[in-house]
């Protein structure tokens, strides 16, 4: 019978014990922000105390003054916005290190923090490092004299896009004039902007609902991320991309059935190649129900999907999903943009995917190791160009729709991406900013003062799905108008005519090699 030496329970606890993080050493870290308050303006309403979910504000009753705990401030500006007398200013704490272009304050702070904790630094949102933005080095064309521009206010202008695999050729029945070819499922979207995968758990239920509502108002799609879909949002199924990721959280037949598109998540731009550990702080009872894990545990998504170790295995899961939904829905495969994305995308297209989603190095996250977020992956611009080019040169670009994600800031970025070769883009950060996000990068704490990246009931209520959906819809409506204006300026009246039309792009400040990879000429050429 079972022989186990000693008391394994005890010995395991010892063998896995990491160095104690809680020994009492003084911290050398200084506060990053300083909360400054005009005592003359402050009316002691304590609104800031109520609003700050990080404990950076408190009311001192004996002195009748509102005071701050600078160390707790994450710089989210919730208090600034809600102060009725504009009494609060949040400033960078003026720690004047000796000037050093290499050992920057952030570097010093990170090292100090790790020396004090022994931990992997974790953060939220997208890469904040000054990587080259190729969007800022690409110019769009406009028509002058020889080709008339079009005024979208008075003439028809089409942004409608169909996502799904297109056939190599179509046959029309000459007798009836009807299409003889059986098409793969096609999903019509009214604007080439979709909402990125953000899981219920990473964001609150109200954020999920806001995105779902906005998607249905706009005639586009939102993506569930990998935390499943709350049953009360099933009614937005027609505007839903249901993600299937390595943790398989919330994946069951009904979830697959209600969605419009299914997406297999292989990688994410913010953390390519690693799994996800949704911190236990964010696993509320309801999140636990949707994900089917115990309350308070970390939701562990393994790094790989353990049924996918090759392109052939990927094909197996793609067809597992198609079989499970009787070939009624397109299957998307999302990968992080990495060094050989072109070849990988070719494999994905041949594996039977209908859509390929690419997520670049600027892609955001609710929680990721900072070192991974800031260093792994490649810029989305390069990935779009190389994937589109590779699929074209192999003659299989029609088999998949391409969707790009990772740092789209405005309609200019979107339009340039489409000219580079994608069918549509995912926006995540921009949609959250529309709701109030200020990019403070504290998503992983679950204490988001704006009620976005939290599962706390009280904080969740800070987002009203009706208002938030309207704000997001306003943003995308505005972008859509701007895209139409840009198309009109180029003398184009349908977004289809811009897709992969790199003649409309010119590079500025690019090396010849960069321009070649992007497939664009330089300005003036």
């Amino acid at each position: 019978m079972t022989v186990i030496k000693n008391n394994p329970k005890a010995s395991h606890a010892q063998s896995t014990a990491l160095p104690s993080y809680h020994c009492h050493m003084p911290s050398y870290l200084k506060p990053r922000f300083r909360v400054e308050r005009s005592d003359r303006r402050c009316i002691r309403c304590q609104g800031c105390v109520e609003q700050c979910s990080f404990g950076a504000q408190y009311y001192d009753e004996s002195a009748d003054r509102v005071e701050a705990v600078d160390t707790n401030c994450v710089g989210c500006h919730r208090c600034v916005v809600f102060c009725p007398t504009s009494a609060i200013e949040i400033r960078h704490n003026p720690v004047e290190y000796r000037d050093n272009a290499y050992w920057r304050p952030e570097v010093i702070e990170d090292i100090t923090r790790q020396a004090e904790t022994g931990g992997v630094l974790i953060t939220g949102m997208g890469n904040d490092k000054p990587w080259t933005s190729y969007w800022d080095k690409l110019c769009l064309n406009a028509s002058q004299v020889t080709n008339p521009s079009i005024d979208p206010l008075r003439e028809p202008m089409e942004l409608r896009t169909y996502l799904g695999s297109k056939p190599d050729q179509v046959q029309i029945d000459p007798a009836t004039g009807r299409l003889g070819t059986r098409l793969a499922p096609q999903i019509m979207i009214e604007t080439p902007v979709l909402f990125s995968a953000m899981s219920y758990g990473a964001v609150s239920i109200n954020v999920h609902e806001s995105l779902a509502r906005a998607a249905s108002m706009l005639g586009t799609l939102f993506n569930t991320g990998e935390g499943g879909l709350h049953p009360k949002l099933y009614r937005y199924g027609g505007n839903t991309i249901a993600q299937v990721a390595s943790g398989r959280f919330g994946v069951h037949p009904e979830y697959l059935d209600v969605a419009r598109v299914l997406e297999i998540k292989i990688g994410q731009g913010a953390k390519p190649g690693i799994g996800g550990h949704l911190p236990g702080e964010k696993i509320s009872a309801e999140v636990a129900t949707t994900r089917m894990i115990p309350t308070g545990t970390d939701a562990l998504s393994p790094a790989p999907q353990h049924d996918i170790y090759s392109i052939e295995d990927l094909s197996q899961l793609i067809y597992a999903l198609k079989e499970a939904t009787n070939y009624t829905k397109p299957v998307s495969v999302k990968i992080a943009a990495v060094h050989n994305s072109g070849a990988i995308a070719s494999g994905i297209a041949r594996a039977g995917a209908d859509i390929i989603a690419l997520d670049g190095i600027r892609g955001s996250t609710g929680a990721a190791p900072k070192i991974i977020r800031d260093n792994l992956g490649i810029p989305i611009e390069m990935a779009i160009a190389s994937v589109d080019q590779r699929l074209r040169s192999e003659g299989i670009r029609n088999r998949v729709s391409l969707v790009a994600a990772g740092g789209f800031r405005n309609s200019g970025d979107v339009t340039k991406a489409i000219a580079l070769g994608v069918d549509a883009v995912y926006i995540g950060t921009a949609a959250l900013i529309a709701m109030g996000c200020t990019e403070c990068q504290a998503c992983y704490t679950g204490r988001c003062a704006w009620g976005i990246t939290t599962t706390d009931d009280k904080l969740t209520k800070r987002q009203n799905p009706e208002i938030a959906a309207q704000r997001i819809a306003n943003l995308v409506e505005a972008w859509s108008h701007e895209i139409k204006e840009m198309l009109g300026a180029m003398g184009i009246n349908a977004i289809e005519s811009l897709r992969g039309n790199r003649l409309h792009l010119r590079g500025v400040g690019l090396t010849r090699e960069e321009a070649d990879i992007l497939g664009v000429s330089l300005a003036g050429e």
């Binding site: 186990i4 990080f54 994450v74 994946v251 069951h252 550990h277 089917m292 393994p302 704490t445």
Partner: protein
């Protein structure tokens, strides 16, 4: 439907399908229409590697498979009872939701991957990473009963469910084969009958004996297993089981440090119970 391959008996409630040479897409489409037409018991003969058998059927029909079904047998299974008279390949019961899979033979790698409900009984051994990331919530709990032993990473990342390996195929030494058993496990439970050494266990599991309720559960599962495979329950229950449980609710919590000064430092592992 390929009519010539399908024979119906008893007013269509029993169907027999000759599957040799059929692509899985045709086979599954036949299954869908048979189930829609009211079949309760479907026999598939000459099965040779067709994948995804039993998926997209939402009724508790009985499917009898003669031959060797392909990968992802019963993936996303939602109700049917699938019996394999032979071996199953990889991904058997992948992300299954409800229903039962009974394998009269061996099953391959990742048997029961991410299962969230239902039961899998495998008469003999299974491959690598069986039961990886099974889940449970409330009364929804998958059970995976393996008659023999398993390859490495048995019960990896388990977030729920019950995994039993009876060790009936082990030789005299009765040593289980798997190493890294329960690596990353943070919920659920594994019961092993037979010998397992400490070095075979993942860092995140503790060892103890089943309590009374668990003994009862084991008796039920073993009895059900024995019923399918004609084994004497008393012969299986003659040896005590060892119980492996997750030591930590948050095995990886302490790895992380916040990048904001004022926020709590790395969390403790939050011992289970």
């Amino acid at each position: 439907m390929r009519v010539e391959r399908v024979k119906l008996h008893e007013n269509g409630s029993v169907a027999r399908v000759e599957t040799a040479g059929l692509h899985y897409r045709e086979l599954n489409s036949i299954l869908r229409s048979l189930v829609a037409d009211g079949a309760d018991r479907i026999e598939l003969h000459g099965v040779a590697g067709q994948r995804y058998i039993g998926t997209d059927l939402d009724r508790p029909v009985q499917i009898e498979i003669f031959g060797v079904p392909g990968n992802d047998l019963g993936s996303f299974l939602d109700g049917p009872r699938v019996t394999v008279h032979g071996n199953a390949q990889d991904g058997c019961g992948n992300t299954m939701n409800r229903g039962t899979i009974i394998v009269h033979g061996m099953a391959g790698d990742i048997t029961g991957l991410s299962a969230r409900g239902g039961n899998i009984f495998v008469r003999d051994d299974v491959g690598y990473r069986a039961g990886v990331h099974m889940k449970e919530f409330g009364d929804r709990r998958p059970n995976l009963v393996i008659g023999g032993t398993a390859q490495d990473f048995l019960g990896e990342y388990m977030a729920g469910g019950v995994l039993v390996a009876l060790g009936l195929t082990l030789g005299k030494s009765a040593h289980h084969l798997a190493r890294f058993i329960g690596t990353g496990m943070h919920a659920g439970v594994i019961f092993l009958r037979g010998v397992v050494e400490e070095h075979q266990l993942g860092k995140e599991v503790g060892v103890t004996q089943p309590d009374e309720d668990e003994e009862k559960l084991l008796e039920e599962l073993v009895t059900e297993y024995c019923g399918y495979f004609e084994v004497e329950p008393a012969k299986v229950l003659d040896q005590p089981f060892v119980k492996l449980f997750p030591l930590y609710l948050r095995p990886y919590g302490p790895l992380y440090a916040p990048t904001h000064r004022g926020i709590e430092g790395p969390v403790s592992r939050w011992k289970v119970k």
